[in-house]
């Protein structure tokens, strides 16, 4: 447990800690989207023809698609021609090692609390730092390479490992999957790529820190993780963005592929700028994350802590194709002020004896709107499939809202389904009780919230759990919401 005084201190300091802007020399393409822009992005990244073609096919298909309107979030229309689709910090010289990285970028990461050196030396975490779409540095690469593990930027993977990329890119999230995935497929600028060969257990947590820095830019990263038979990998992702008055679009795609007996654990702490107290600015986080348990006995586990973004639209899902495969989804989503979240998961049971677990915790405060949306599908032939779902909502104050839309489709009589849901409110009685024991209402709220999230926090790697706890305290800005 992180000490409460530390949380308090942080809360007192400011509302959004990561709201600084780094003055980097950025290289951008003109605003707007066209085939030329797609080609330009591909060209700037020196991509092979097949990649350019794939982007163009995605772009042409995207033109025929309509932005989805089924979600329970509200926002003004997005002008897709008013977005810069590519921005890269202009390096002063080629980056060969950590020491070569622009000091501005280095200090930026230091402010974020992830000194690359520190990470490398102390934590044993390999960081692939993505700043405005381009991967700045990939640490630990050599150590991982010794085990046959590939961990690099997506662009590098396109150059160095084209066979793997071609084989799996779009195999879980095809470019015609949905509007935002289509857009991403056309203009994605960078992201992370990880491949763990058969039988290898990745000895460290792989980690990427994304950050949106430039103004009016959308960030469209693309991540692909492949675990060959018997492999294991745990991947961490953390996100922050500076404060801007205008809304920024973030439409990422993450694809995971687990082969026989492989396991992928994917953890996210999402703390994009949520907008101010009046709901001005903030990130539109429209993300498609999906994993495919392709092989028998494979397992994919999603853990997410969503505290940021003005709008979150995100459903990390599992396609349980292999027999005996397992999917998990553990989520904490926090909305405050005018934030809106529509998040949940899909568990598609196709293989026999497949199992899935869904634990979703939604916390709403201020004027926030929090929606859990889940779909569990048991396909014909998926005999003895099992699902356990639990979605709990916690309300703070009387102006927020929580919604739950579970959708269960069973086509197999042997399926076992369990669904539990609860809604509770932090009551004056609870706060008063804590106060009579010497605990302030702010600390009490923090304590109650952390108790509520405990099941999910336990699934996070240790350091992340501490960070998540702090973040939730900060994003609920507890002094403002209680008493």
């Amino acid at each position: 447990m992180v000490s409460k005084s530390a949380i308090q201190e942080q809360m007192a300091k400011q509302e959004y800690k990561y709201g600084f802007v780094s003055d980097l020399d950025e290289e951008t393409v003109p605003k707007g989207l066209s085939e030329d822009v797609v080609r330009l992005i591909s060209h700037k990244k020196k991509e092979p023809e097949w990649m350019t073609d794939w982007r163009l096919r995605a772009y042409r298909h995207w033109l025929t698609m309509k932005e989805p309107t089924w979600s329970n979030v509200r926002y003004p229309p997005i002008d897709y021609q008013d977005i810069i689709y590519y921005a890269a910090p202009r390096p002063k010289k080629p980056v060969n090692s950590l020491d070569d990285i622009d000091p501005e970028i280095r200090s930026l990461y230091a402010k974020l609390g992830i000194s690359l050196q520190e990470q490398e030396r102390l934590a044993g975490v390999a960081v692939d730092a993505v700043l405005d779409s381009v991967s700045v540095a990939t640490t630990f690469k050599e150590k991982l390479a010794g085990l046959g593990i590939i961990f690099c930027s997506f662009s590098e993977a396109v150059q160095e490992h084209p066979d793997l990329v071609r084989k799996y890119l779009g195999s879980v999230v095809p470019f015609n999957d949905n509007f935002f995935a289509g857009l991403n497929s056309a203009v994605f600028s960078d992201g992370s790529f990880a491949y763990v060969p058969a039988g290898v257990r990745c000895p460290m947590e792989l980690s990427t820190y994304f950050r949106i820095n430039a103004q009016d830019t959308g960030q469209f990263e693309r991540t692909l993780i492949i675990a060959d038979p018997g492999a294991y990998v745990s991947y961490l992702e953390g996100c922050t963005a500076p404060i801007r008055d205008k809304n920024q679009l973030h439409a990422a795609v993450v694809e995971l592929v687990a082969l026989d007996d492989a396991e992928i654990k994917y953890s996210t702490i999402q703390n994009w700028y949520p907008g101010d107290k009046q709901g001005k600015g903030g990130i539109y986080n429209f993300v498609t994350k999906r994993g495919k348990c392709l092989g028998d006995n494979s397992k994919i586990s999603w853990t997410q802590v969503e505290t940021g973004s003005s709008i979150t639209w995100k459903y990390p899902s599992c396609i349980l194709q292999g027999d005996n495969s397992q999917g998990e989804f553990y989520s904490v989503a926090v909305v405050n002020n005018y934030q809106q979240a529509d998040t949940g998961t899909k568990m598609l049971h196709i293989g026999k004896n497949t199992r899935s677990t869904i634990i979703s915790k939604g916390i709403s405060a201020g004027y926030g709107r929090n929606t859990y949306r889940g779909r569990v599908q048991i396909h014909k032939g998926a005999t003895n499939a099992r699902n356990y779902s639990q979605c709990d909502s916690l309300l703070i104050g009387s102006t927020c809202a929580a919604f739950t839309f579970p959708d269960i489709q069973v086509q197999e009589p042997t399926a076992q389904m369990e669904h539990e849901a609860s809604t509770s409110k932090i009551g004056d009685d609870q706060l008063f009780y804590c106060q009579t024991r010497g605990i302030t209402p702010e600390d009490a709220t923090n304590m109650i919230v952390n108790g509520f999230c405990k099941q999910v926090f336990l699934k996070l790697p240790m350091e992340f759990a501490v960070e998540a706890q702090k973040l939730i305290g900060v994003s609920l800005n507890l002094e403002g919401t209680v008493g």
């Binding site: 009685d429 008063f432 804590c434 106060q435 009579t436 024991r437 010497g438 600390d443 304590m447 405990k454």
Partner: protein, 256 residues
Amino acid sequence: MLEISNLQVKVGGKEILKGIDLSIQPGEVHAIMGPNGSGKTTLAQVLAGRVTYEVTGGSVRFEGKNLLAMKPEDRAREGVFMAFQYPVEIPGVSNAYFLKAALNAIRKYRGLDEIDAMDFVTLIQDKAKLLSLDETFMKRGLNEGFSGGEKKKNEVFQMAVLEPKFCILDETDSGLDIDALRLVADGINTMRGPKRSMLVVTHYQRLLDYVVPDFVHVLVDGRIVKSGDADLARNLEKHGYGWILEEAPKPQAARP
């Protein structure tokens, strides 16, 4: 230790306490008895700092300080404790974690360091024995799924760990069977001492058979109408509240 003078309290516009005077010295145990709706719980809650109760007159001084001006958490840190009639549940927050947070908040206020983790474990083990609570109790969510009796035991257990100077026990005996009542009463009695005072709010005499008070006050319609020693409580048990009501001076202004 505690000086209540002419305390008047309204709840939702309605006058509940109509001028309470009460003086409690260190080491004394006072019992407040009275029929339902007489204002017993209101008195307890006002002392603990509940904001829904509006103090319209009078004062309360705790060790010379103006208690009513303090936030509830500061009252706790100064040494006031209330054992609730209906303790709340906080799921996912373990009893042990909660108590440690409480203890450290109080220690910090008094300029002490946070308690050492091992010392804390020893402390709660000692106090748990007092109330025959087992180890798993500490790991369970705060009052989460507790029976009525367990909740009441937990209140006294918390009191034993936090070692307040002044304890308010609000209907601590309600919902307890005879064995649990004895355990809880023993717990309370071990805490009696020359420096600690208690205010025991109860509807029935039975708790007072075990926790024998130095003074008994009868609260009727927002006023203390009679005070005496432990015998008064026994008389009440035997004869009910009726005789006191007849004896008591009538309120000067009749209510509409």
